[in-house]
């Protein structure tokens, strides 16, 4: 594990031709992106059955944009990696694409969009990729230009991977400074795998935050837990042997040793008995 991608290189270099291709072919990645995009659109709380004009911030290869198209919306995507946008073009996404740096501000007219989503992109803005970069200033320029190009009453939903709480603090303070209200919604807060952060920003004045998923402990985190259980079951069947250290395994091992002609204690009712745990 090489650590967080944004510590390795600026996004336009990290997402070069090879990585862009890999990213868009990994089915597990695509599934996760799809789920997060659908959740982001849900959090947008758009009027029902109305096609809207949306912007996808850090649209990459268009995975999230496709969800927008599927739900009947017209969207424009902005990304800093031309390789990723190239993949989006190949996949023939419906949205118009722009090559741009979010930290330089969004070059749109006031009130142009009915809403904004951003999937797995915001954390990239928190790093200074060039000596002249000041992350706080870039975040402010980004949020204030976003605030102006959103129509009044609309929202911006950011799914992102915060590195630590001071990063969350930096982001939210610049967003508030730019005029947004809102806050952080954390889905499945008790699951390391399923936990997802959604920054929900609103332009229409203070409103209640939408409810997070999986906060009621009875509700299982989807996908991830089930997936790892399935994997273990399959492993067991395939090898045909008993799981390690169980009584059956011990008896099999002793049989193996006898076949090899090694000196082995006779089996008894005590073989593989559960020993009392150490009490010192």
């Amino acid at each position: 594990m090489s650590g967080r991608p944004e510590h390795q290189a600026p996004p336009e270099i990290f997402y070069g031709e090879d990585e862009a291709r890999k990213y868009s072919r990994n089915t597990r990645m695509m599934e996760i992106q799809l789920t997060m995009s659908e959740r982001a659109v849900e959090l947008l709380c758009l009027p029902e059955n109305q096609p809207c004009h949306l912007i996808d911030l850090g649209c990459g290869s268009g995975l999230s944009g496709e969800t927008l198209t599927e739900q009947g919306h017209v969207w424009t995507g902005v990304d800093i990696s031309s390789a990723m946008l190239g993949v989006a073009k190949e996949r023939e996404v419906e949205g118009d694409l722009l090559l741009g740096d979010l930290g330089q501000g969004l070059p749109f007219r006031a009130g142009a969009f009915d809403g904004a989503i951003s999937i797995s992109a915001l954390q990239w803005l928190c790093n200074a990729d060039q000596r002249s970069h000041n992350p706080a200033k870039r975040l402010y320029i980004f949020f204030s230009s976003l605030y102006s190009c959103l129509s009044r009453g609309s929202r911006a939903i950011f799914q992102f991977y915060p590195e630590n709480s001071s990063q969350v603090e930096l982001i939210t303070s610049q967003a508030m400074k730019a005029g947004f209200t809102g806050g952080l919604v954390v889905d499945y807060p008790n699951s390391t795998k399923a936990k997802k952060f959604f920054l929900c920003l609103m332009t229409g004045g203070q409103q209640p935050l939408p409810a997070a998923l999986g906060v009621d402990s009875r509700e299982d985190a989807p996908n991830h837990v089930a997936f790892s259980q399935k994997r273990d079951r399959v492993k067991q069947l395939r090898s045909g042997k008993a799981p390690k250290k169980s009584r059956d395994w011990i008896l099999e091992k002793k049989e193996r040793r006898r076949r090899q002609g090694k000196e082995t204690r006779d089996d008894s009712k005590f073989t593989g008995r559960k020993r009392p745990s150490h009490v010192w």
Binding site: P51, H53, K89, G105, P107, R109, S145
Partner: protein
């Protein structure tokens, strides 16, 4: 880049630019696509669209199909008008060319349908 997108694009992120709208278009390649017509969406977009800028853009592209020079009254129910608006906003795509800032003359190249809005460090 569709004309709907061009209609909302500005160069105001550049230093020294006050309005930066509308951007001029010098197109080397234009494509016409077929896009599903959604009257409800077009109706709502007409409220946001800067109509004179749309006409100017159509003119720059040399598209002589008649685009009415003003928005008609009661456009929501005028299907013919909505269809024309749809054609210009959603079906005409600039594939290659340049977008030009009206205040500084700075060019933003459009390649393969994607405008490059990246500014240099000294321009922001």
């Amino acid at each position: 880049m569709k004309l709907l997108t061009h209609n909302i694009l500005t160069s105001k992120c550049l230093k020294g630019v006050t309005v930066g709208y509308p951007l001029g278009i010098v197109a080397k390649e234009v494509k016409v696509n077929e896009v599903d017509f959604n009257p409800e969406f077009i109706s709502r977009m007409i409220q946001k669209v800067d109509w004179p800028a749309l006409c100017k853009a159509a003119e720059n592209l040399g598209h002589t199909d008649e685009l009415p020079s003003t928005v008609v009254d009661d456009y929501e129910n005028n299907e013919e008008f909505l269809k024309k608006a749809h054609h210009f906003l959603m079906e005409i795509e600039v594939m290659n060319g340049d977008l030009i800032c009206p205040e500084t003359g700075r060019k933003f190249p459009v390649t393969d349908g994607i405008p490059n809005m990246l500014a240099n460090e000294d321009e922001v």
